[in-house]
């Protein structure tokens, strides 16, 4: 049975449009979907990251950002297996909010997060795209998430992380990162997350002290790019 038929009567055209959407129809153009525009940005850090994952095929790459078809397309196009886990969405979920130690305060259930998210065998991944997750994660989750990522990354595995500089300001909007090619990223604003902190270089070095090497790249628009090797 085929959903697409060229001899469909006119009266059935509207119904066919529905079926076409259901069975393999094309997507609406961006203007019709109301999605935010994408802003291109060259990235030296991502270029360097890509060089570390070119060979061999079949690597396992974990993307910690929101689901991006561009990223999946790029990674699988290299012959790799793409994993996706939106850590910020999970870490900011209301189900994780629990009462804090002080009256009326709240905190995040770290144990629950670690039991439900980032659940992979040790040394599973050849590389991790962390983007700027650390800047937007609730404070109690930052260190445990970095430790978990260290555990699930293979020795000599690469990780790319971005950090805002202080000049970015507390109102710096959250952007999704879409991979355009090995030199170019596209930034798309949203969903809304509040910038929780800005790290200085020594804080970044401290946070990732278990990693073997750390390399800083000065990015554009008050972003530092950091390439780490486990």
């Amino acid at each position: 049975m085929r959903a697409h038929r060229s001899d469909t009567p006119n009266l059935a055209r509207s119904a066919l449009g529905f079926f076409r959407n259901i069975f393999g129809g094309g997507a609406e153009p961006a203007s019709a979907t109301g999605e935010a525009a994408r802003i291109p940005r060259r990235s030296t850090g991502f270029n360097q990251f890509t060089r570390t994952i070119l060979r061999p095929d079949g690597q396992k790459i974990l993307d910690l950002g929101p689901t991006s078809s561009s990223n999946i397309n790029f990674l699988t196009g290299l012959g790799h297996k793409a994993y996706n886990e939106d850590v910020l969405a999970a870490g900011n979920a209301s189900r994780l909010v629990i009462p804090g130690t002080e009256e009326g305060s709240t905190t995040v259930d770290v144990a629950r997060f670690l039991s439900e998210d980032l659940q992979y065998d040790p040394e599973t991944f050849d590389a991790v795209l962390m983007w700027d997750v650390c800047d937007y994660l609730p404070e109690p989750l930052v260190k445990p998430v970095v430790e978990r990522i260290y555990q699930i990354t293979k020795p000599r595995g690469a990780m790319l992380a971005f950090f805002h500089t202080r000049e970015a300001g507390v109102e710096a909007p959250y952007y999704r990162y879409h991979i355009k090619d090995e030199n170019l990223l596209e930034l798309q604003q949203g969903p809304h997350f509040q910038l929780k902190r800005t790290f200085q270089n020594r804080h970044v070095e401290g946070l990732f002290h278990d990693f073997n090497s750390i390399k800083f790249f000065l990015g554009k628009e008050n972003i530092r790019e950091v390439l780490l090797l486990r």
């Binding site: 049975m1 959903a3 469909t8 059935a12 119904a15 066919l16 529905f18 079926f19 259901i22 069975f23 393999g24 094309g26 997507a27 609406e28 153009p29 961006a30 203007s31 979907t33 999605e35 890509t50 070119l54 060979r55 095929d57 396992k60 689901t67 078809s69 561009s70 999946i72 397309n73 790029f74 699988t76 196009g77 290299l78 012959g79 297996k81 793409a82 994993y83 996706n84 886990e85 939106d86 969405a89 090619d181 090995e182």
Partner: protein, 148 residues
């Protein structure tokens, strides 16, 4: 709509199925299924009300609803913008609309090694994806080209 229902098996949103669901015709599933779904060489659409807790195997799989389980699409898997998938995808081609939620792994399977042109990885990285839609589109498809 009547034409569609005549050609495609339809499971409505009030239907709940527990167990093995298999068939040899295209299926539109808008209800709940817990178990396994195997349509062999036929297409499956999980409608916006569809709630699936099962491993899914079909030719083309289109997801509008929620799936907890692994999806094998022999030809193609499509996640629409309302889709929520917790599980792995194994297919030749994949389409993910902006807004879809996906947590899991994607393994792009090659249909026939002989059909795929050999090219260096660096070149592959720089090249325009084979199935990319125009930049303005919300969807990008990946995978290897179909044999002509």
């Amino acid at each position: 709509m009547d034409t569609y229902r005549a050609d495609v098996a339809h499971i409505g949103k009030s239907v709940i199925i527990k167990g093995e669901l298999s068939g040899s015709e295209d299926l539109f599933l808008d209800g709940e299924v817990e178990g396994n779904i195997d349509l062999h060489n036929h297409n499956l659409v999980i409608g916006p009300n569809g709630r699936v807790r099962a491993n899914v195997h079909a030719k083309d799989v289109v997801v509008h609803g929620k799936v907890d389980g692994n999806i094998t699409g022999v030809d193609k898997v499509e996640l629409k913008k309302s889709a929520v998938l917790n599980g792995d995808i194994n297919t030749q081609r994949i389409v993910i609309e902006d807004g879809a939620f996906f947590k899991g792994a994607i393994d792009i399977r090659k249909a026939d090694a002989k059909a795929e042109p050999v090219r260096p990885a660096a070149q592959a990285a720089a090249a325009t994806p084979v199935f990319s839609t125009p930049a303005a589109s919300a969807t990008v498809t990946t995978g290897i080209p179909e044999k002509k």
